[in-house]
């Protein structure tokens, strides 16, 4: 393997500044910075270069970085396999899989290939790829464009998995992913791309991957969550606050590495645990969080609660979706019952 010396973070002298950015713009800034500071980065995927991405996220990057940013055929195995091969030879490919649902035509490369490279060779070769994709339901999307599949990736040892849900995290976590020497899957959310702008600190030191964040303090119940559904959780928490119940909202951010300490500390404080994700509850990653807490032997005031998607495919009609996915009301209701000490299980978890 060629010994390609990597530039240190910030070497290209990216200025530290704060800008009001949308989530999509934050991703774009992170990509631009990565492409500037790390000459070994490549960016490719379907429609990412000349068209600037179907969501406009990669706009302007092909113009600035030329051939390092390129469009690919509709060939996800070639995209991911190409990334693995290029990474083995010193490149840092950032590959886009347009929808997480499409990763299923090429999952082999993310399960059987990328995570084995380092392990089998005992570090002689590595595959530091970053896969950017986006997940979740949006209005009118069909069953094949609505899934949350983070549980698949989190179950694969050797893959790192993060789900940014703020513009700042979209920027920070993507850079951490590119800087990380492991294969990393960063799962964005298209419903967040073009939402309200927020202040994003740019140009600071690129941190390591990992670490949960408390999004809201509270002493009555800990809600562990990740991804876009966090916004519903925060709304539900406000609803509860009006009723005198204070929920702590912990954004897990990274499913692997998982910040177990943060989870345990939070749960030890409130002694009540709810896990909320948009993915299907059954077999979902929420089960991992609940299990880790259960195994910890923390003495809880009430059984833990999971709130996620009920067992169904995701229907397209906007009116049908609340019959399947978590809503603010379902979350608030679940938390209320948790605090009251009622045993809560989504009637639909098992069918």
């Amino acid at each position: 393997m060629p010994d390609l010396t990597l530039l240190p973070a910030g070497a290209a002298g990216t200025a530290i500044e704060t800008k009001r950015l949308s989530y999509a713009e934050a991703v774009n800034h992170a990509l631009r910075r990565a492409l500037r500071e790390r000459p070994e980065t490549l960016l490719f995927g379907e429609d990412v270069a000349k068209p600037g991405g179907v969501f406009g996220v990669t706009k302007g990057l092909h113009r600035e970085f030329g051939d390092r940013v390129f469009d690919t055929p509709i060939s996800e195995s070639a995209i991911l396999g190409g990334a693995v091969g290029a990474a083995m030879f010193g490149r840092r490919p950032i590959a886009e899989i347009m929808w997480i649902d499409f990763s299923l035509v090429a999952l082999d490369q993310l399960v059987n290939q990328a995570p084995n490279v380092r392990y089998v060779s005992r570090g002689a070769v590595t595959a530091p790829i970053t896969v950017r994709t986006q997940a979740g339901n949006g209005p009118g999307a069909c069953a094949q464009h609505s899934q949350n599949l983070e549980a698949f990736f989190a179950h694969v040892p050797g893959l790192r998995v993060g789900m940014p849900s703020t513009a700042q995290d979209a920027y920070d976590m993507l850079l951490s992913a590119v800087w990380c020497d492991d294969p990393v899957v960063v799962i964005e959310n298209r419903t967040l791309y073009h939402g309200a702008k927020s202040d994003v600190r740019l140009g600071g030191e690129v941190g390591p991957i990992g670490g949960a964040r408390v999004r809201r303090g509270g002493s009555d119940v800990t809600v562990v969550t990740w991804g876009a559904v966090q916004n519903l959780v925060l709304d539900a928490a406000e609803e509860l606050a009006a009723e005198g119940v204070e929920a702590e909202v912990l954004d897990l951010r990274w499913l692997n590495p998982l910040d177990l300490t943060a989870v345990q500390e939070a749960v030890a404080r409130t002694r009540r645990l709810a896990v909320v994700h948009e993915a299907h509850t059954f077999g979902g990653f929420g089960a991992e969080v609940v299990s880790l807490v259960a195994e910890s032997g923390l003495d809880l005031l009430a059984p833990p609660v999971r709130i996620g998607a009920a067992p169904a495919r995701i229907p397209s009609a906007v009116s049908l979706v609340p019959g399947v996915l978590p809503t603010r009301a379902k979350i608030a209701d679940g938390l209320r019952r948790l605090v009251r000490g009622e045993t809560v299980r989504d009637a639909g978890v098992l069918r």
Binding site: E46, D47, K50, P51, V54, D71, T72, P73, I74, S75, E76, S77, D101, F102, L104, V105, A106, G138, P139, G140, A141, C142, A143, Q144, H145, A310, P311, A312, R313, P315, S316, A317, V318, S319, L320, V321, P322, G323, V324, G348, R351
Partner: protein, 319 residues
């Protein structure tokens, strides 16, 4: 052999219906009655109408892509059921479960759009496989775009169908673009039908803006498949005259490209031909207004239907 005038008038009306429905969908989407990403097929109508004309929908099965409104209407799906589906109404062809990109209409021989590029091809091969056992004489049609040819599943499906001699016709809707990227940049051999020979299967190219030409080429493929001659690949060269999705500014199209596509679009062309064959302008206008009325009525009917009920959302997951 060219089709007779009544047949062509039928094609004309069907193509107009598809165009009219797509225009109405664009209006509803722009107005906010419909939501999400919707892919229109305007400009490509001749492919659907021509291909379906060669089928026997009482037994044949069509597997289109997310850009499937035209296929559905060509198969006879009522426009009101299509509008209602995209609007998420209980009267939708799938009660709103499918939406624009993934609805299915088996009663009409339209066995499901597929919003995963290429995934319908092996499923169509499976439908053809069933035909090898059920004595139905079914022919399956796998329709997909130019870009889909670069997807592994399509390759596997074509080889699988070829080696087993399955009655399936692979129809490539070559509209020159995959979303926002020209196919010319994504593969070296611009003659997509030539891929067929890799599988020892016949392949051919037809003017995809001429429903009559498509129908005749398709008839050849269907007859051959139904007779046990195995699959074929039919490349229909056409163009979208709208964006990939509603709202797509199409900045990726070079200057003049869209104008040329509009100039070549199949409905105007067929109108000219019919006029040349002696059909009176009034007759064409009568068809136009009949179709317009139908579209308007269907849209209104769909808009007046109630939304799908979330209490039903968990039904029909399992047997």
């Amino acid at each position: 052999m060219r089709s007779d005038t009544p047949t062509l008038l039928g094609h004309f009306e069907r193509m107009l219906l598809i165009r009219g429905v797509e225009d109405e969908i664009a209006r509803l989407r722009t107005a906010g009655d419909m939501v999400g990403s919707i892919h229109l097929c305007s400009g490509q109508e001749a492919v659907y109408v021509g291909a379906v004309a060669a089928l026997d929908l009482s037994r044949d099965a069509v597997f289109p892509t997310y850009r499937g409104h035209g296929w559905a209407l060509a198969c006879g799906v009522p426009p009101e059921a299509l509008f209602a589906e995209i609007l998420g109404r209980v009267t939708g062809i799938n009660g709103g479960r499918g939406g624009s990109a993934y609805f299915t209409a088996p009663r009409y021989g339209m066995y499901g759009e597929n919003s995963i590029v290429g995934a319908g091809a092996p499923i169509a091969a499976g439908a053809a496989l069933a035909a090898a056992f059920d004595g139905s004489g079914r022919v399956a049609v796998a329709a997909f775009g130019d870009g889909a040819l670069n997807q592994g599943a399509v390759h596997e499906a074509m080889n699988f169908a070829a080696v087993r001699g399955l009655p399936v016709v692979f129809v490539v809707e070559n509209n020159a673009y995959s979303e926002l990227t020209p196919i010319a940049d994504m593969t070296r051999n611009p003659e997509l039908f030539r891929r067929a020979s890799a599988y020892g299967m016949p392949g051919g190219r037809v003017d995809g803006n001429d429903p009559d030409a498509v129908a005749r080429a398709m008839e050849t493929c269907v007859r051959r498949a139904r007779g046990g001659g195995g699959p074929a690949l039919l490349e229909c060269v056409t163009q979208r005259i709208v964006g990939h999705y509603i709202g797509d500014a199409q900045r990726y199209r070079p200057a003049g490209d869209l104008d040329r596509a509009v100039a070549a679009e199949p409905i105007g062309r067929l109108a000219e031909r019919l006029t040349a064959e002696g059909v009176a302008a009034g007759e064409l206008d009568a068809i136009r207004s009949r179709v317009a009325d139908r579209v308007r009525a269907a849209s209104r009917l769909a808009l007046d239907s109630p939304p799908a009920d979330p209490a039903t959302a968990l039904e029909h997951l399992y047997a």
